[in-house]
C-alpha cells in the first residue's frame, strides 16, 4: 500500500488544487502540493529502508489492458533502482517545491503552478514506479505534457509558449521512436512486463532474428533498442534532439531545476538503465549510445563555454552531464550512470536554485555580464553555489567527483578510449565554465550598479532548500560511493543493474588511480584557467574569442543547430503544409463539404414554395393527405 500512496499523495494534491485552486485555495495551494510531496518523500524513505533490508515488490493492482493473451497490468515495481529514483525524485522535488513557495509567491498563477508541479511529480513517479513498458510510456508522455505546461507557464510570453511547443514537439520525435520500440517489445516478447521481457533466453532469441534493412544486416534486438533509445534521446536531450532543453529555460526557474535535476531528463537514463538486459546485449546500440553520449557531452560543454545567460550555461552543462550518463550506460556502466544521475540531481538542482536566487536578486536579469560582486550581497547563495561548482567540476571529496570519475574509469575500462578522452576534455571544460560563471557572477566589481544595489539575499523558503541541497552535494558522493567502484551504491544496485552476461572490466589499482588523478588534475586545471581568465587577466577572454573567432562563433551560436533544423526540416514542412492546405484542403475537402451544404440549400430553395406561412394551406395539405389515406383504406 505504501507504494501506492507515493502516487496517491501528488494525485490528491493535483485534484484538490486543480478543482478548487482558482476559486478557494489561491495562495494556499502550496500546502497541498508541498505536503503531498513531503509525504511521498516520507513513503519513499520508508520504502528505501525496506528495500535496503531486502524488500522487493512487484504488485499488480488490476489488469489494465486485456487483449487476448497480452495482459498489461497497472502494477508497481519496487526494487533498488526504483527506490533510488524515488529518493531522487521526491527529495530534490520536495526541495524545489519548498523553494517555489518563495520564488513564485508574487505570481498570478500560484495555484496553477503548484498543480502543474504536482502533475509533474506524479507523472515522474508513475514513470519510475511502473512495472511495465506501458506505464513507463504513460509516465513518459505525462512528463512530456507537464513539461509543456510548465515551460509554457508564462504563456503570455511568446518566447515561453514557443519554447514549450519546441520542447513538446522535439520530445514527440523521440517518443515516436520509443513508441515503436514498445511495439517491437510487444511483438517480440508478447508482454510488456519487465519481468517477462528481461528474460535472457527470449532476449537471445530476439538477437538471433536477423533481417536486412537497406542492405544492412541487423537483428531485432538492435532495432528495438535503437528505437527505445530514440525516446531516451528526446527525453534526456541527447544530440541531435537536445535543442529543446536550453529553450526550456523560459519556464520559471524551479521548473528548470525540476526538469534538469530530478525528473524529465533523467527519464531517458532511467529507461536505458532499466532496460539494461536489452541494451547490454545490443552491441551496435551500445556503441552508438557511447558515441551519442560523448558527442552530447562535448557539444554541451563547448556551447556552455561561450554563453552569457546564466541559466543557459547551466542548461548546457546539464546537456553535457546527461551526455556523461548516457555514455556510461552505453559503456555498460549502468551503475555509474545512475550514480551520476543521483549525485547530479543534487548539485544541478542546487545550481538552478542558486541561479533562481540570483535572478530573484537581479530582478530577472540573467546576463552574467550585468552581474558581479554578488558574494557580499548574498552569502548563502554564494557559498552554496561554490559547493555546487566544486561538486560538478569533479573535485574530491564532493559528490560529483565520485560519479564522474567512475564514469570515466568505466568508459576507459570498457575500451572506449576515444570517448574517455572526450569525457576528460569535457571535464576540463566543465570545471572551466562553471567557475567562469562563479567568478563572473560573485566576484569582481559590480558591473550594473543599479541592479547591484537592489540585490538582496533570498527569503528563507528559498535558502533552506539551498543549504539542504548543498549539504547533500557535499556528502552524498562520499557517503555512497566510497570505496571507489565498490561502494555502498554498487552493492545496492548490483542485483538490478549488472546484467548477468556483462563482464565488468576491472582496472588495475594503478591504472585506476592514474585515471582518477588525471580527472582531478584536469578539473583543477579548468578551475585555474577560469581563475586566470576571469580574476587575474580580465582581457584574456576577449582576446581568446578574437583569436579563435570562427570556433567561438560556432560555439556561441550553439553549433547552428536551430538554424539547421529551421532550414532543413521546419521550412520544408511549412511549405509542404501550405501546399496541402491550399490544394488539398481547400480544393478538395472544403469543396466536397460545401457541396453538401449547397445542395441542401438548393433543395430548400425549391421546397420553400410549399411553405406559405398560412395555416389554411397547411390544413389543406392535411386534408389532401387524409383523402389519400381514405382512398387507400377504402380500396384495400
Amino acid at each position: 500500500m505504501l507504494e501506492l500512496w507515493v502516487l496517491l499523495f501528488p494525485l490528491i494534491a493535483v485534484i484538490i488544487n486543480g478543482l478548487f485552486g482558482k476559486k478557494y485555495i489561491k495562495k494556499k495551494a502550496h500546502i497541498f502540493s508541498v505536503g503531498a510531496i513531503l509525504l511521498s518523500l516520507l513513503c519513499s524513505l520508508i520504502i528505501y529502508v525496506k528495500v535496503h533490508n531486502g524488500y522487493y515488490a512487484n504488485i499488480i493492482y488490476y489488469k489494465w489492458v486485456i487483449a487476448e493473451d497480452i495482459v498489461i497490468p497497472f502494477g508497481i515495481l519496487i526494487d533498488s533502482l526504483s527506490s533510488v529514483m524515488l529518493i531522487v525524485v521526491t527529495f530534490v522535488g520536495s526541495m524545489i517545491h519548498i523553494y517555489s513557495i518563495g520564488y513564485m509567491s508574487h505570481d498570478e498563477g500560484y495555484h496553477r503552478f503548484f498543480t502543474y508541479l504536482s502533475i509533474f511529480t506524479l507523472s515522474m513517479l508513475i514513470l519510475v514506479l511502473g512495472n511495465n513498458f506501458l506505464m513507463l510510456f504513460v509516465g513518459w508522455e505525462l512528463v512530456g505534457l507537464s513539461s509543456y505546461l510548465l515551460i509554457g507557464f508564462w504563456f503570455h510570453k511568446e518566447s515561453a509558449s514557443f519554447a514549450a511547443k519546441k520542447a513538446f514537439i522535439t520530445n514527440r520525435i523521440g517518443d515516436f521512436g520509443f513508441y515503436i520500440g514498445v511495439l517491437l517489445v510487444i511483438v517480440t516478447f508478447k508482454s510488456l512486463n519487465y519481468s517477462d521481457v528481461f528474460n535472457n533466453e527470449l532476449i537471445l532469441q530476439a538477437k538471433s532474428m536477423v533481417f536486412y534493412i537497406f542492405g544492412l544486416r541487423v537483428n531485432l534486438l538492435e532495432i528495438m533498442t535503437l528505437a527505445l533509445f530514440c525516446g531516451a534521446m528526446g527525453k534526456s536531450a541527447q544530440f541531435p534532439l537536445h535543442v529543446w532543453l536550453p529553450d526550456a529555460m523560459e519556464g520559471p526557474t524551479p521548473v528548470s531545476a525540476l526538469i534538469h535535476a530530478a525528473t524529465m531528463v533523467t527519464a531517458g537514463v532511467y529507461m536505458v538503465a532499466r532496460c539494461n538486459p536489452l541494451f547490454s546485449e545490443a552491441v551496435f546500440t551500445s556503441n552508438f549510445i557511447v558515441f551519442i553520449g560523448a558527442a552530447t557531452a562535448l557539444l554541451g560543454a563547448t556551447i556552455g563555454l561561450t554563453q552569457f545567460d546564466l541559466k543557459r550555461i547551466l542548461a548546457y552543462s546539464t546537456v553535457s552531464q546527461l551526455g556523461y550518463m548516457i555514455m556510461a550506460t552505453g559503456a555498460g556502466a549502468y551503475i555509474a550512470g545512475v550514480f551520476h544521475l543521483f549525485t547530479h540531481a543534487f548539485f544541478k538542482g542546487l545550481l538552478f536554485l542558486c541561479s533562481g536566487a540570483v535572478m530573484h536578486a537581479m530582478q530577472d536579469h540573467l546576463d552574467i555580464r550585468e552581474m558581479g560582486g554578488l558574494r557580499k550581497k548574498m552569502p548563502i547563495t554564494f557559498w552554496t553555489y561554490v559547493i555546487a561548482c566544486i561538486a560538478i567540476a569533479g573535485i574530491p571529496p564532493f559528490a560529483g567527483f565520485f560519479s564522474k570519475d567512475e564514469i570515466l574509469a568505466q568508459t576507459f575500462a570498457s575500451g572506449h578510449r576515444f570517448a574517455w578522452f572526450v569525457g576528460l576534455v569535457v571535464a576540463f571544460m566543465t570545471a572551466f565554465y562553471m567557475f567562469r560563471s562563479l567568478f563572473v557572477v560573485f566576484f569582481g566589481e559590480p558591473r550594473d550598479k543599479h541592479l547591484y544595489d537592489h540585490a538582496h539575499e533570498a527569503p528563507k523558503t528559498m535558502t533552506i532548500p539551498l543549504i539542504v541541497l548543498a549539504f547533500m552535494s557535499i556528502i552524498v558522493g562520499a557517503l555512497v560511493g566510497l570505496p571507489l567502484e565498490n561502494g555502498y551504491i554498487h552493492h545496492f544496485l548490483n542485483n538490478v543493474l549488472v546484467p548477468e552476461n556483462l563482464s565488468i572490466h576491472h582496472l588495475s589499482m594503478g591504472l585506476s588511480t592514474t585515471l582518477m588523478m588525471s580527472s582531478v588534475v584536469v578539473a583543477l586545471m579548468g578551475v585555474a584557467l577560469a581563475y586566470i581568465y576571469y580574476m587575474y587577466r580580465k582581457d584574456l577572454p576577449e582576446k581568446t574569442a578574437k583569436a579563435f573567432s570562427p570556433i567561438y562563433k560556432l560555439f556561441y551560436n550553439k553549433w547552428y543547430f536551430d538554424e539547421i533544423y529551421g532550414n532543413l526540416i521546419i521550412q520544408p514542412l511549412v511549405y509542404m503544409s501550405k501546399g496541402i492546405w491550399h490544394y488539398f484542403d481547400i480544393g478538395i475537402i472544403d469543396f466536397t463539404v460545401n457541396a453538401f451544404g449547397k445542395s441542401a440549400v438548393f433543395c430548400g430553395n425549391i421546397l420553400k414554395y410549399l411553405q406559405t406561412g398560412k395555416i389554411q394551406t397547411y390544413i389543406f395539405t392535411m386534408v389532401v393527405g387524409s383523402l389519400i389515406l381514405i382512398i387507400i383504406f377504402y380500396t384495400l
Partner: protein, 166 residues
C-alpha cells in the same frame, strides 16, 4: 318520437353549424355555435349520456364558449370575410370529395366491430348513467383522469402567464 327528435336535432345541428362558419359577424357565429352545442347535448341525451349532455352544456356552452364570446367582444375584430386561398375551386372540390367519402364510409362501413359490453340501455336506465359513468371513470380510467387534470392545470397556468405578460 325518437326519430323525429333525432331528425330535428340533426337538422338544427347542421344548419346552425353551417351558419356558424358562414356568418361574417363573429358574435353571431358564437351564438350559432351555442345552438349547435345545445342540439348536440340533445343528441347525447338520446344516446343515454345524460351526464355528458349536462357537461356539454355546462363546460362547452357555459365555460368554453363564453370564453370565446368574451374574447370576441374584447378584441371586437373587424370582419374579415373568408380566407383568400390560392386554387380556391380546386380546394373546394377536394374538400367536397373528402366530405362525401367520409359520409359514404360512415354509412357503408359502420360495422360494430368491437366486443359488446355489459352496460345495455336497460341496465343504464336501472342504475343510472351517472353512477355507471363515475364508476368507470374513477376505476378504469383513474390515471388518464389525473393526467387530464394535470393538463388542465398546466393550461390554466399557461393561459395566466400568456395573458398577464406585459
Amino acid at each position: 318520437m325518437e326519430k323525429a327528435a333525432f331528425y330535428i336535432l340533426s337538422f338544427v345541428i347542421i344548419v346552425s353549424s353551417l351558419f356558424m362558419i358562414t356568418r361574417k359577424n363573429p358574435v353571431h357565429s358564437v351564438l350559432w355555435m351555442l345552438l349547435t352545442f345545445f342540439s348536440v347535448a340533445g343528441i347525447f341525451i338520446q344516446l343515454n349520456a345524460e351526464f355528458i349532455a349536462a357537461t356539454q352544456v355546462i363546460v362547452y356552452a357555459g365555460a368554453i364558449l363564453v370564453l370565446y364570446l368574451f374574447v370576441v367582444m374584447l378584441l371586437n375584430p373587424k370582419t374579415h370575410g373568408f380566407a383568400k386561398i390560392p386554387y380556391r375551386y380546386g380546394m373546394t372540390i377536394l374538400v367536397v370529395i373528402v366530405f362525401v367519402l367520409q359520409i359514404f364510409m360512415a354509412a357503408s362501413m359502420s360495422k360494430v366491430l368491437g366486443i359488446k359490453g355489459v352496460i345495455t340501455s336497460e341496465k343504464m336506465a336501472e342504475i343510472g348513467n351517472v353512477k355507471l359513468f363515475g364508476a368507470e371513470l374513477f376505476n378504469t380510467y383513474i390515471v388518464p383522469f389525473e393526467i387530464a387534470s394535470i393538463l388542465l392545470l398546466v393550461a390554466m397556468i399557461g393561459a395566466i402567464v400568456l395573458a398577464l405578460r406585459k
